[in-house]
Symmetry: C2
Amino acid sequence: MASAGAADRFEVCFLPAGLRGDAARGTTLRDAARALGLEIESLCGGRASCGKCQVRVLECDGAEHGLHSRAEHVSELCDAERQARAAGRLGSLDRFSCQARVEGELVVYVPDASRVGRPIVRKHASERECTLAPAIHKYFVELEPANIGEARGDWDRLRDELCGRFGLDAALSVDLFALRSLAEVLRGERGRLTVTVWRGRQAIRFESGFSERAVGLAVDLGTTTLGALLCDLNSGEVVAQASAHNPQIRWGEDIMNRIASAKPPGQLAVMQQAVADAIGELAHDATLAAAATPEDVVELVVVGNTVMHHILLGLDVQSLGVVPFSPAVSHSLDVKARDLGIPVLPSANVHLLPIEAGFVGADNVAAVLAAAPHASDELTLLIDIGTNGELVLGNRQRLLSASCPTGPALEGANIRFGMRAARGAIEKIRVDPVNHEVRFRTIGAVGWSDRLPAMEIGARGLCGSAVLEAVAELFRAGLIDRSGRLYAEQPCRRLRQGANGMWEFVIAWAEQTAIGQDITLTQGDVRAIQLAKAALYAGSQMLLGRFGAERPDRVLLAGAFGSVIDLERALAIGLFPDCGLGNVAAVGNAAGDGARMALLSVAAREEAEVLARRVEYVELSTARGFNDAFVAATQLPHAEDRFPSTEARWSPGIAAR
Amino acid sequence: MASAGAADRFEVCFLPAGLRGDAARGTTLRDAARALGLEIESLCGGRASCGKCQVRVLECDGAEHGLHSRAEHVSELCDAERQARAAGRLGSLDRFSCQARVEGELVVYVPDASRVGRPIVRKHASERECTLAPAIHKYFVELEPANIGEARGDWDRLRDELCGRFGLDAALSVDLFALRSLAEVLRGERGRLTVTVWRGRQAIRFESGFSERAVGLAVDLGTTTLGALLCDLNSGEVVAQASAHNPQIRWGEDIMNRIASAKPPGQLAVMQQAVADAIGELAHDATLAAAATPEDVVELVVVGNTVMHHILLGLDVQSLGVVPFSPAVSHSLDVKARDLGIPVLPSANVHLLPIEAGFVGADNVAAVLAAAPHASDELTLLIDIGTNGELVLGNRQRLLSASCPTGPALEGANIRFGMRAARGAIEKIRVDPVNHEVRFRTIGAVGWSDRLPAMEIGARGLCGSAVLEAVAELFRAGLIDRSGRLYAEQPCRRLRQGANGMWEFVIAWAEQTAIGQDITLTQGDVRAIQLAKAALYAGSQMLLGRFGAERPDRVLLAGAFGSVIDLERALAIGLFPDCGLGNVAAVGNAAGDGARMALLSVAAREEAEVLARRVEYVELSTARGFNDAFVAATQLPHAEDRFPSTEARWSPGIAAR
């Protein structure tokens, strides 16, 4: 057994990384780890007061790891450790690595929570890991009271302490709004305070005493819906969520209406404040759920399409509505929350991801960041369906993007009975291919329409995914031909001409609705879906042609619509190029996921900046061949090409009936 | 005569600097100058559109400067030069140095207006020159319209142009509030615009077309009075001035009252906005006088004592009222005008000079910057008299500072008939040493009181300088003894006991006043002046002792009071150490001059930062020996020491009578 004796250096091994090397007697475990490239957390700069740097000294007899390791091979407990152990905050073999010193061979286990730069918890949408590296860092400081005759101000003394103890850059500045609180914070616990520093450059918050928690908000600013994830910036976890309708809806459902509404003098500022307030409400709701306050939100990342991005910033959007669709700014921005009027910590930074090009906005950059086509050798087609369909096609070598003029049909707009995905919206539809009978599910109802009394169904309209399903089901049932015409070879009681002479198919009878009239899918609705799918399909074809590929290796569907549509039916009507159902996946709210990654990692922000510049934007409206491809794609696919293989799985409900 | 012929290089001499060197044929005159270290102005980056780079080609026959120089030795006029010459904007031998190219030996005269870094016009107060190097610079750009498919936003294209053409750092950012105007500015003159850049780091303003003018505001934020100088940032000239009372006066005349008034919750913010609005009004008044608008103010420098500085920033001032008088921040700050609520260009930067120590504020730093004791080998005592007397003693080697508790007597406060220097204030007083008769001058009256009918005098009270003069005159007339006691060996009709039993001397009879009662100087008033002068004198003695000097080589009096007091009388009552009247000078509003220097020169700001840290602050209240020195200094000097030498000059009016 190797006794420490009078030896000067001892071998130390850090698990689970397995890093090992010599350390001089008396070296703290934290310094020994750092010398091997392993950074251990510390908020207090080695004053034994934050407890963030805990490690465990393992007992080993030399058989494991080739080292003899025991508790006696480190220095004795300091007072702070004794108190922490008595209070149950420090396990029996655990030590503060800033205090425990090497006095013999050691095997030390460093838990994830004590490591700097640990991986962010994996998200369902992405196969990538991302290292936790938020823009903010907290430092605990005990500042001595000023002496009489001290010429430095409080902040100057604090800055000297931060720079001296934590190695921060001497150019460290302080946000005015944070500075306003400093005197009171210093009085609070007699100079014991926690400083939140943004990107090592600016102190943005002071809190009395020791305060470890830091939260940030990732905001997905959609044309219709706002979603927010409140994230713990220490762990990367989502601690609360909130969502709301975009209050700008009162100025129009789609972005062209928003642009028009923002034109009269003063109106842009009103719309800007409305969305800023809405983000403030999300921050309020989410922090309330997490036992925090909006003032605790120290960092925000916002993604949105170019129009939403510009309106939030108060930037003129008129040029976004006309050729050449120039945004005011395309690179990422950091602005103060107060400058946007968002009621969170006034000195909090709001990071806006970059814009790719006119209509391909920061939300798409975020979706690419999360879905990561550029991290794979497979050729990926990423489709983000909203009012415009945004396409990205590419792999590790090259990325192309385009914006397809799908129109709002896939969101349920410009559809006779279209509506948002809210209570009463029909979301699933099945049509019996033999007798043409229909059953459907309504949001808020407890089961399929054929299992409920008519009065309990309460249908109000069709949401976007249901419109697409209806077209697919009617096509499969032979009630729509390849050109998109509604027709029946035999009489069908649900197929009729409406008051304006247009053919329509009844999905819900009046008695099944809460609106007192039949809910139908009209010939016009079918045409709108055809145009939308033709735009997406032709856009995809154009990108494939530009890339020099026949078909993608996989298709990823992002966004709310992409998450709820039936992938088989989408494929059946030719919404996107066929690459085999097994290679199609919905990746959920990829834009929101990307926003969260950017919130948790400055490296992800840098990656987004590079991505936005790397993506080659293809302007479809002027691209040769797009119109021909578009016209061709309005046709529905040959039914025999698609249906047989999936028939059995496709309609289990009907088959079972 | 040296013909240009086929030679490749020619000697070029630039006057008045006399720089000379070779330049290759075809080099522009501007590049040739730059190669010799002489920077010539350019707003347009060499596009022949700004006209800022004009130089004159001199005709020389080789006798002067050893060179043959003539108009034919440069390339022919370009179209822009021809137009400028036709329009009278370009003289017959003048050229745009970005266009004219070397084709032979040349002697070129570069006028001051075309030089980068020319000296600021000399001020009366200071013997120093300071190089014009404002924080902002304007750039004229002609931006091509965006092409369809252009992925970069407007700002990104503009930034690339700025960086490419003018060599600005690629990290150049843009202020959000400026960015909001960019789209409209670009539409204004089809991409021709002028960009204002702050410190080479951030674009803060966009203007359509070519715009050369840039103005900034230097603000002296006094406890009682605000003064502002509107400066042309291209020439350094003061183009307008404005002043106003500090609106915070309603919360107390002195800084201790202000501190107390700022204590109730919310009150600080109210006081903050009041002073921000007041600065906005000065900006309004000054820009109106200069045919500009507050939106044209692109940079501000504000100096003030520590309390005024903190209130403007919205910083807690309570700690400034108690030991150890800690300011929240002491180094200089740059904050956005909008964050202070000052109604000028929202993205304008407000620079606050550093604070030396608790009571020695940014105004004193500015005064030191302007009076520049550190630039001289002479030992200078700089006295800035306000509610506190601020002292700086030093020379090139060392600087000491102190704050003396003079009380407000020298500002006319806590004086029985004291008042501010406004209409009706007595500002000059003469007492006949023989018959003790008095004559005085009143602000707003057309002459001395003995030359006017009583009813046209309209006296209302005594301003600070008059109180000091009255004490000096009564001391000289033997009506005050060295201990400060008011007494007369023979009966004197003006010397009497007031209602409260206190002795007083009548300066103005009731009929000479607008207030209907006699204006007197009381025994209490004399004591207040004695205390003030004792504080200043003893403070000066302490600094001299600390410095190891007997007396200063010169005394400079700064501030409004320092400008109006009679230097001989101030010396006569021992307001400051005697160094001979010829070595005493009033330097006017040195703080305002320093603010202007900082506005016009970033180098001056850096100098101020160094100065503030270099000055050694001496805390008098705890300094050994200060109390003894203070008590001793309450005595008035031996009259015989001071009066005889100056008698003749001193009272010319009375002597002539």
